[in-house]
């Protein structure tokens, strides 16, 4: 484990160094990512000035809901970028390099693939939203709530990691998974910025079971905010985000292992 940690720091150090070699460029990119994502929030903010609330959620509460998406994505992209760009790794043969090295394949992919600029862009936005909203939505921060918040963030990162791990494993069978990602990740993510309860049963089912973004932000947010629309779901859903994260990740990992064997025996 210590071994892996030192490897992570080695990758992180060199990744950061190379990303920030051209400092102005790096800052411009971070700022661009920040603005791109913030644009959506500003639009929502302006719309809500008119409507006031969405299914009982105030602007601040929605910002809190929002912040979880960005914070988890910011962390996710530090660990799982190689999985986001996995088809490229296979196509260019970089994956072969990883396979002959004396470390676990996934360990290397997870460690070396940090997109620091996106991480900073999304991360700062997420933290900013959290800072703005956290006090105003009336959360009592104590050891218990902080601990559960951290666990939920970790769970959310794992859920998204599991989704991308699954996509990556599918890459072993069909090389092009870009459109799958577009439909099942990026589009679902757009749905997840509003409370789950506003959608029809079909979309809710997808967000609960297929790509469970509901556990990334909606249910954790409910734990802290206890909005009345939670009444339509079983209460325990608020408490299981960390478990969902771990379970999904293990499941995705098993599928990944199986697919890796398949890849070796077929050869793309």
């Amino acid at each position: 484990m210590r071994d892996i940690l030192s490897l992570f720091f080695a990758y992180a150090k060199s990744g950061l160094k190379s990303r920030f070699q051209y400092k102005v460029d790096a800052i411009v990119v971070i700022f661009a990512v920040f603005l791109r994502e913030a644009g959506g929030i500003i639009a929502m903010y302006l719309a809500l000035q008119k409507f006031g609330t969405v299914n009982g959620w105030s602007i601040d509460e929605l910002l809190f809901l929002f912040s979880l998406i960005f914070i988890t994505y910011g962390i996710f992209i530090v660990f799982f970028m190689a999985l986001r760009d996995f088809p490229d790794w296979i196509k260019h043969g970089d994956f072969d390099r990883v396979m002959v090295r004396p470390r676990g394949v996934l360990t290397q992919l997870v460690l070396c693939g940090a997109d620091w600029l996106a991480a900073f862009g999304h991360g700062t936005l997420g933290l900013l939203l959290l800072l703005v909203s956290a006090n105003r939505v009336g959360i009592e921060w104590d050891v218990k709530t902080v601990l559960y918040y951290v666990m939920c963030v970790a769970g959310g990162v794992l859920i998204q990691g599991a989704v991308f791990l699954t996509f990556s494993a599918i890459t072993f069978y069909v090389l092009e998974t870009g459109s799958l990602k577009e439909i099942f990740y990026w589009n679902m993510r757009k749905f997840a910025i509003y409370p789950l309860s506003i959608y029809n049963k079909f979309i809710q089912a997808i967000l609960l079971i297929v790509v469970p973004f509901a556990f990334v932000n909606y249910f954790p947010a409910q734990f802290f905010l206890r909005k009345p629309d939670m009444a339509q779901y079983p209460g325990w859903l608020m408490y299981i985000t960390p478990a969902v994260g771990v379970a999904m990740y293990l499941l995705a990992y098993a599928f990944w292992r199986f697919s890796l064997r398949f890849y070796k025996s077929t050869g793309n």
Binding site: Y11, D96, R97, M99, V105, Q108, K264, G267
Partner: protein, 329 residues
């Protein structure tokens, strides 16, 4: 040691890239893998590395089934020159490589040291030594993506040698590399092969380099092993045409009844092409010099390149024909 028996690899699309190959490679041996494009060289290499699982037959590398390697030992160093070259020509940005394009070379080396759990001090020492030997010392602070192709290839080799691999696989390391870089690479590989601690598998079309590094070659054609033995024997059994170039003061001499394949006469110069397995150079040259006022004479033996070209072209794999006597010894 690497052992293969009736090794087979058929892809999903039905193409059989490796077809019944049986081969032993001893520890510390340097073996050249040759064959026309599409002969199955890269697939064989990938089977040895465990990047593919065999679809039939038997393969063990260093006592393990390669496809079930536990990512520990043995360490394999791999340089895939053709894809690195492609990435330069077509500007893919990335090729199969041990190095990360957007990191400096020295950072890359540190990272590799870390992956292979080298003590920091040892890693630094080896990096400096390799940089000096491969003439890379001035480029350590360059991003790998900025290096020229020749420097890049040297850097890839340095990266592989950093962790003293037990198996070093070089897939076309000379493609597009300039003469000086070729020379440096060749030198370091020759020393490595001579030291005998590292098994080297080299695939290349540069026969001159191959000849200098690998005493043994394996020739593949359409996935089948068609020759396995010393380069010398390959040369002997498949002699190409030798040529004799002769300049004389007066009329050039008449080659008479010798079995000449081609005969070119231009002013005072005579050029003869003949098969040295049918007639000795000494015999023919001696007879020509005797009958004329020769001012200059040059005899050229066929290069290994010409021989291999001839083999590829003719598909003539009857190696026993010419050297039956040698084989019997």
């Amino acid at each position: 040691m690497i052992v293969m028996k009736e090794l087979e690899k058929t892809f999903q699309n039905g193409v059989t890239a490796v077809d019944g190959v049986s081969l032993h490679i001893a520890k510390g041996e340097a073996v050249g893998l040759i064959g026309a494009n599409g002969a199955g060289k890269t697939t064989l290499v990938k089977l040895i590395c465990g990047l593919y699982r065999e679809s039939g037959g038997f393969i063990r590398a260093f006592g393990e089934k390669p496809s079930e390697r536990k990512h520990t030992r043995p360490y394999i160093g791999m340089v895939t020159g053709s894809q690195i070259t492609d990435s330069y020509i077509h500007d893919f940005g990335r090729g199969v490589s041990f190095l990360y394009d957007d990191m400096t070379l020295s950072l890359n080396m540190q990272l590799i040291g870390n992956i292979y759990s080298l003590p920091k001090k040892l890693c630094k020492e080896r990096t400096e030594e390799l940089a000096a030997r491969l003439e890379l010392s001035g480029f350590m602070h360059y991003r790998v993506g900025q290096l020229s192709l020749g420097q890049r290839m040297k850097a890839e080799i340095a990266a592989c040698l950093l962790f003293s691999p037990e198996l070093l696989i070089l897939d076309e390391p000379f493609i597009g590399v300039d003469v000086t870089a070729k020379q440096t690479i060749c030198d370091i590989l020759r020393k490595l092969a001579a030291a005998g601690n590292t098994t080297v598998i080299l695939t290349t079309h540069d026969m001159a380099e191959l000849e200098r590094i690998c005493p043994r070659v394996v020739l593949l054609d359409k996935g089948r092993l068609v020759y396995n033995g010393s380069l010398d024997r390959l040369k002997r059994s498949h002699l190409g045409l030798s040529s004799l170039h002769l300049r004389s003061a007066g009329m050039p001499p008449d080659p008479g009844d010798y079995p000449i394949e081609r005969y070119i006469l231009e002013n005072h110069e005579l050029r003869l092409y003949y098969d040295a397995s049918h007639i000795g150079s000494k015999e023919i040259a001696g007879s020509l010099i005797k009958g004329a006022d020769v001012s200059d004479i040059l005899i050229e033996k066929p290069t290994i390149e010409q021989i291999v070209k001839k083999i590829y072209k003719e598909g003539n794999y009857e190696f026993g024909k010419h050297d039956r006597g040698i084989g019997a010894l």
